[in-house]
């Protein structure tokens, strides 16, 4: 299985995870380790950046884990840039998952503010991974201003509905020059496997693991599904046959 490279950094695992909604930080840590995820996102608003013993950060100090702070909760580009700058100072990483969702109901990303913030953050030297709607044109515009990956949604965040945006994800994957990470809505390992079979470079899963009755087992299941999906994609799947092959082909006369 090929290695994923984002902004020059290699990842053996194509499963990215999150830290929210777990019943306990220790359980979150066990689930993240079981997933073998190397990129873990956490909401800056939940972390106390002034506290070195912050409970969330304390459970993520493993050599295999890279932190991907996110700006969840901000409503404008201005707030996002401010939050990212604070995160860089406090956490020593210039990676940022840009999430701007002014709509607190479905947490759908604001494309206009996201593009504005990306432009500025890239200029400030950040590695920006924006959470966006599955909008192929927006993906190209973000590529133009220098994102290192795009993170289109499969369905509203936390909905577990799967790849409701599949047709658009396929266009994005076909067109993209940067890695495509399917984020949000993935509720079952089969959804993750499908995203990988379609050619997504990685998936990000949080709610489906955190809210499961057994987060550690579910993290393992997702790990396996992502590997299976990627292997299938690289192996090139057998073509889908929608009809039988005619026994008297109409084009035989050409031979």
């Amino acid at each position: 299985m090929s290695t994923l490279v984002i902004a020059g950094k290699e990842f053996k695992s194509r499963l990215f995870t999150g830290t929210g909604k777990f019943s306990h930080s220790l359980l979150m840590e066990e689930a993240v380790l079981a997933s073998e995820s190397e990129l873990v996102t956490m909401a800056l608003k939940r972390v106390n950046l002034r506290d070195e013993k912050d409970d969330i950060l304390a459970h993520l100090t493993h050599p295999s884990i890279n932190l991907l702070p996110n700006t969840s909760g901000v409503r404008t580009a201005k707030e996002a840039v401010f939050a990212a700058t604070l995160a860089r100072e406090a956490l020593g990483t210039n990676w940022i998952k840009l999430e701007i969702h002014p709509d607190p109901k479905y947490l759908l990303p604001d494309p206009i503010e996201t593009l504005k913030a990306t432009e500025e953050l890239v200029k400030l030297g950040f590695i920006v991974l924006p959470y966006i709607h599955a909008d192929p044109v927006l993906c190209k515009r973000l590529e133009d201003v220098g994102v290192q990956a795009v993170m289109p949604l499969g369905a509203p965040i936390g909905s577990n509905m799967g790849l409701k945006t599949q047709e658009f994800l396929e266009i994005i994957i076909a067109q993209s020059n940067v890695p495509v990470i399917v984020d949000a809505g993935i509720g079952a390992p089969s959804h993750a496997a499908l995203a990988m079979e379609l050619g997504a470079d990685a998936v990000l899963v949080n709610t489906a693991i955190a809210v499961s009755e057994n987060p550690v087992a579910m993290a393992t299941a997702f790990k396996m599904a992502v590997i299976a999906g990627r292997m299938a994609y690289e192996a090139k799947m057998a073509p889908l046959k929608k009809q039988a092959v005619a026994s008297s082909p109409l084009t035989n006369f050409l031979n």
């Binding site: 929210g20 909604k21 019943s23 604070l86």
Partner: protein, 374 residues
């Protein structure tokens, strides 16, 4: 777009109440089966016809809450700054008819109370005052927010309704949320319970969430005080208010609270009783109506009730609350607004949550991200 006042004035209280009581089992089943539920479904879910389906509602509510909010509960503490008040409210310990010495905290006293709450781990605070515009006006509240913003990541207030520009000023200085409960949506009954003072103006209070929305507040807390009028009708109008505001101010978050009348100095008996099963039904009905609305439960409720309700739709709770200014450290015996019921300390509440596999969340915002004046 119509204002909420216009919308409410087109509704008849008695007809609404009757339509809730006329909901049938098949209305309830339809509401339970719908993927998205509307206000008519909500009526069915709070109706007597839904009582036999309470367990099913609780199961659904629990699942939806877990999906949206995870295995977590947000923790906050109220901080009463003053019990001075020029209103007469028949149900409130702070009512000006209650001839008891009043107390307003000074800066030094506020910081002592803050230090206590911080030592308990609180990072989200709800500032509460009575309504005394000369001594506890917007300048006093603004000063308190400025004093506190270095100490708390999230500052909410529950004070008298203010003007849009006043809210804008407080937001610039670090205010995140405002709780403004209508008490009752029945205009005449409202007048009976608020005979004197600025609070007697029903419409000004009713329009407060719209002023908050215009000011760009992050979160608005709605609710009715159960006991003044029929809880079903008041809850229906609260839900209607919520749906109206969500469509008009789509960037704002909303939370619902469920205060039931509690004993206090100079007390009032509830006109319409609301039992524990009723409150569970209501909380579950809100969750089925709205997967995303936050729901808060205070220490007004008993230990046993709170231990169980945290799994059924609630997203935030207080602990160890004092409802009198200075109640934590400075002046423990000052006049309180009402008696709390769950008197456990913070540690005991946290242990209760952790035993149930729920993580208490202390911090969920950074107040210095907003366009706050620095």
């Amino acid at each position: 777009m119509k204002t909420f006042k216009e919308l409410l004035s087109s509704c008849d209280w008695e007809e609404t109440l009757q339509s809730i009581f006329e909901k049938t089992e098949s209305d309830v089943l339809r509401a339970l089966g719908n993927k998205k539920r509307d206000l008519e479904d909500f009526k069915a879910l709070i109706s007597p016809a839904a009582k036999p389906y309470l367990e099913q509602m609780a199961q659904l509510s629990s699942q939806l809450t877990k999906k949206r909010f995870g295995n977590t509960i947000q923790m906050y503490a109220p901080l009463y700054l003053s019990n001075e008040c020029q209103n007469i409210c028949t149900y409130c310990g702070f009512s000006m008819t209650n001839k008891i010495p009043r107390k307003t905290l000074t800066d030094t006293e506020i910081l002592k109370e803050v230090a206590y709450l911080k030592s308990k781990g609180f990072d989200q605070v709800l500032l509460v005052t009575g309504e005394a515009n000369k001594t506890v006006g917007v300048d006093y509240i603004n000063n308190a927010i400025r004093l506190m913003r270095a100490h708390f990541s999230n500052i909410s207030i529950e004070v008298q309704p203010l003007a849009t520009e006043e809210y804008q000023l407080l937001i610039e200085n670090g205010l995140h949320s405002v709780m403004v409960y209508q008490e009752t949506y029945h205009k005449q009954v409202y007048k009976n319970h608020h005979p004197k003072g600025k609070k007697s103006n029903f419409d000004f209070r009713l329009e407060t969430p719209e002023r908050l929305g215009e000011a760009g507040i992050h979160k608005i807390g709605l609710g009715a005080l159960f006991g003044l009028e029929d809880w079903r009708a008041d809850s229906f109008f609260t839900a209607m208010h919520l749906k109206y505001l969500q469509k008009r101010f789509w960037k704002t978050k909303y939370s619902i609270s469920f205060p039931r009348l509690r004993p206090h100095s100079g007390g009032l008996e509830p006109k319409v009783a609301m039992g524990d099963a009723d409150l569970v039904q209501l909380i579950c009905a809100y969750r089925l109506l709205d997967e995303d609305v936050e729901m808060s439960i205070s220490t007004r409720e008993s230990e046993v009730f709170r231990n169980h309700i945290v799994k059924l739709g609630i997203t935030s709770m207080s602990a160890e609350s004092k409802t009198n200014p200075g109640g934590y450290v400075v002046e423990k015996q000052s006049l309180e607004q009402f008696e709390i019921s769950d008197e456990r300390n913070t540690e005991a509440v946290v242990t209760m949550l952790e035993k149930q596999g729920i993580e208490p969340v202390w911090k969920d915002w950074e107040n210095n991200w907003s366009d706050v004046k620095r």
